[in-house]
Every structure is written in structure tokens, then in C-alpha cells.
Symmetry: C2
Amino acid sequence: MDRIQLTLDEVRSLATAVFRHHGVSQRQTDAVVDTVTAAERDGCVSHGLFRVPGYIASVASGKVTPDAEPDITDLAPAVVKVDGKNGFAPLALEVGRQPLVRKAKSQGIAALAVTNSYHFAALWPETEALAEAGLVAFAFVSSRSFVAPAGGIKPLYGTNPMSFAWPRDGRPPVVFDQASSASARGEIKIHQREGIPLPDGWGIDSDGNPSNDPKAILGGAQLPFGGHKGAGIALMVELLAGALIGDVFSFEATAADNDDGGPTSGGELIIAIEPLLCVDSSGGPTQLAHAEELFAQILAQDGTRLPSDRRYAARALTPTEGIRIPASLYRELLGLAGGSAH
Amino acid sequence: MDRIQLTLDEVRSLATAVFRHHGVSQRQTDAVVDTVTAAERDGCVSHGLFRVPGYIASVASGKVTPDAEPDITDLAPAVVKVDGKNGFAPLALEVGRQPLVRKAKSQGIAALAVTNSYHFAALWPETEALAEAGLVAFAFVSSRSFVAPAGGIKPLYGTNPMSFAWPRDGRPPVVFDQASSASARGEIKIHQREGIPLPDGWGIDSDGNPSNDPKAILGGAQLPFGGHKGAGIALMVELLAGALIGDVFSFEATAADNDDGGPTSGGELIIAIEPLLCVDSSGGPTQLAHAEELFAQILAQDGTRLPSDRRYAARALTPTEGIRIPASLYRELLGLAGGSAH
């Protein structure tokens, strides 16, 4: 495939030009472009510039409010809410981050409920940022009905990712960010495009039969990872990102969406814990040093790595190697920025 | 198999007699016997009377302090700690429950760190009790090194269960309680005893090869459920129940244990959330009523059920049908109670 090499500054400039050209406010643009740029930096192609046309579609269709100003409400000593006001999630998350950090550091544990916003990114940007502030963090987001419940055959749950981050001294946090479906939706589409059968266990056709055919599964249902246990996680995510914080379930988001190709409206729950307030002064190794002993045990086995190590390895190479995107995507983005293809 | 039928009162009396005969204090006994009886009531045989000989072994070996009095410390506005003082976990959990409920109901979210205790039961008793108080609850416990990390072949993680509970109006909560391993350790031993090969994916032999032989896996390693995603959950549980709260990891608990057949020492993290403090008064359906709409969508599909429905179905039958245990276990328990076999 023909590819274009870009520096991260060029990624940022290009994405910014696209959003600004479509009337997205500078604040909304800056927050979204931060997550797009971070994804490209870390080699997470599916959440980078690839997502920009979808973001723009949701503005162009009138679904997302391009100049939304999130509204913050203090709900309890350990709970803060940010109403995204129908804008994209990254600005709502940014507005909520410092209040959440302050609450976690004073109360020991705290929650941030983000509602009424459009999430179209990975979850690790928010949990990693909290862990960089010294906190243990969880994030939960539902999406659009793609995944069958345990025992069922029709899509109900979203791919419902959850992320968890653990802070480290002098190193980037250990972070996982994983769908509760066996695969990402995008991976199925890539198999379809390339004509490759799917691995077992990814999905079922519309009659509920196991299938390796991408088209049959896209018209049937994805499966949770690990059977009923993954379905348990998916159900938990629906409840946390939906009913708990007064936002919608995936099936409701699906019904309300205009199918413009962009994100659906929904909620996100973030929980942050201050480790220093989870122990008394009775001694023992410090908590972060103790965790390093576990990480060392993992890495002492051949073939292992820590979650997020692959991202950090990509991150280390980006300043010198830049990133590469398909020339077709580059031309599309130039067009969306109001310029002309080279 | 020859079986003995018992009422729940008889279960309670028999278990109590065993613990008291071995010098376990009345408070420790009552708390442990509550979880044993609840497990029998709900048809969870592997956490019922079956566990009692293991509990007693850990007292007889001198590992567990039979009259431990848990010590409670207020660590932060939203964090409370209970030091189990080397006793069994149920009393420590009972001591921490009301302080945790009070903190969650005033702060919105709160955590209970239970340390230095011996957990040998399921997790649903603690999360279900919190959900019965109207809270959303999580629990995390590590155990003994049985499970290989992602990519590795040697046991490192425990079977590391997590539980999640959601409160319902006028009905028992929706609760899941699932190991992060593909199977419970006990299920492998049952297959071994009965000479039945294991399903694919449960474990690997000591060379790291997939195996269906119970003996090979018991000498090799169990696998997480759902590949690296289940391993992510297992890692998270290690960090939450270990380093975060100043307690041990599974590999440390394994090294410290005297292999008496009873539980290992460790920690447990519980998180509780007050739903009423996670929303403002901007309207919409109430949170619990909203969740019922999701449950109805799940149950509208053939072949589905809610997590914990099987337990509640067993619970409904127990008052009229009683429970049945193997006659050999009954005789063993009578012996442990200082009586003679019938």
C-alpha cells in the first residue's frame, strides 16, 4: 500500500486543520487531536488519523455539537460528573481529570462520571494520565450493540472495553485496555477486506452458528472473550457506563444513532485510587516497589511482556521514525481540511 | 455415591461443632459458618461443608489464629482497612462491612482493604451483602500460584476471582463471581478423580504444551480465561488485592504457606458505590429501573440467564429439599466435631 510518512507535529496539524475546517471549536479540537496524536505516537493505528473521518461525519450530520462546553457538577465528596453537552468525550475527560485527581488524593478513592458525550478513542489515554499522577485507575465505556449475551445469539452489548492502569516510579504505567468482545469490530472488517477467514470464537452468524466468515459475523453477532466470563465483564461495563451514571446502554445508543459512521452517544465511568491512602504505616516494602517484584516475576518467564509494553516500544521509535498512513487516508484528510490532494 | 440429607440448621450446627471443637472462637466460627451455610443453601458445593476440613487443617497446623480479633483502621474519608490479625476472612469482612457501607453512602464511592486474613470462600457473599444494602460492589482476591501469565508457562497468578454485584428493587442482586483462570482448581481435581479428560484451554503441561490431562496440568499451569485478556484481569487482581493494600501476591503467599491444605494468607479489596450519588437530579428513568430494561433485553433471548440466577434457584429449593452431602464427608465432619460416625 502506498504510504505517507508524517511527523507527530504533522499529524497534529493535519488533524487540527480538519476539525477546525468543520467548525469544531478550538477546545474540542485540541482535546480530540491530543488523543488522535497519542494513538499515532503509540502505533495504535485504529484510533489515530483513521478515526478522523468518522469524527467529522458525526459533526457533518449534525449529531455532535462541535462547540460543546462540558459542564462539571460535584455530586459527592468522592464523585464528580461531567456532562459532555453532546460534544466529543476527550474534552469532557480533560475537564474532569483534575477534579477527579483532587478527590482521589483527598478521599482515597473517587469516581468521575462522564455523560452525554461521544467516545471514539481508546481508554488508555485517560487511565494512563491518571496513573502518571500516581493513581490506580479504571475506565469503562459501552458502545453499540455488537456482542451477544451469554447463551444468546443476537447483538446486545457493545464491545465494551475496560482499562486498568498501575503507576510506576520513573517509568510509564502498566496499562491494559481491552474489549470485552473476543475481537475488535475493526479487526473483523480488516479480515473481510483482505479476504481472510476469522479465528474460531470471534462470532456467530445470524442463526447462532459459529462462523469464520467476516460477513456472516458482521450480520450476526460478535462473541465475548472467554465465554460467559467475558460476557460478565461486558454486562458490568453496560451497568457502570450506563445505568449507574444515568446514561444509555449500548442497545439504546444503537437505536438513537443516525448511523453516520461516527461514534454513538454514551457514558464513561472512571475510578481512581490513591495508593498512599490504602495502607497504614505498618511497614513492608512500598507499594510501587512491591509491584515491581511481580512485574519482574512475569518478565522472568520467556515469551511474556507487560500490557502496554508494545505501545511504549512504538512510542520510543516515533520521534525518529515518524508514522506512516495510507496515502488514500492522507488525501482524504487533506480534502476534509479543505485543501487539495498532492 | 452414598449421601446424607441435611437441613440448613443441621449444616450450621455441624459446622459450628467442628470449629468450636478445634478451639476456634465463637466470633470467628459464626462468621465462617455463615459463609459455609450460605454456600450450601445456594448449591455451591465446593465452598460449603466440603471446605471445612481445609479450614480445620489450617487451625490444626498452627497457621491460622483461631481466636483472631480483626482490627479496623480508618485510612481516609473513603477508605477503611481491616487487619484480619491472621484469622479467617469472613469475620474481617463482617467487621468492615458497615464502615464501608457508611463511607460509600456518604462519599459516593469507598474501598475496604482486608489484609492478613485467610480467604477460603466465594466472593459473592460479600458483594451480594453490599448490593442488598443498595450499593454497587466489586471484590478482588488473589490466592496461590496456579496460573501462567500471558505468554508464559509457569504458574504465577492465583485463580484470582473477581465479583461484581448490582442491586435490584425487591429482588436479590445480580452478582457474578468468576475466577480469572479458565477453570476452578477444584474442577480439574474432579476430572482427575473421575478419569475424565479436560476441555481444551484449561491448562498446559510443565513444558508449556496444551494438555487435556488433569495430572499434567496440575503439575504444569492453569491458563487464564480468554487468553491475554483474562491474564489482564488476573494481573489486575494481583495488584489490587496485593501491592495496593500492602498485602502479598499469590507467588508470595505460595512461598509462605505450610501446605496444610487450608487457605493461604492474603488480602482482599472491596469497592462499593452509592448509585444515588452518581447522578444529579436531571431526570430520566431511575437507575435501578433502567437496569431492569437491560436485564429484560438479556432474558428476551432464548438460552440466556442472569449471573447468579442458578444460585437463587437453588436457594429457593433448599428450605423444602434440604441439601445433600457425601456420607464420607458427613462422617469426616462428625469425627472433626469430636463425635463418632453413625
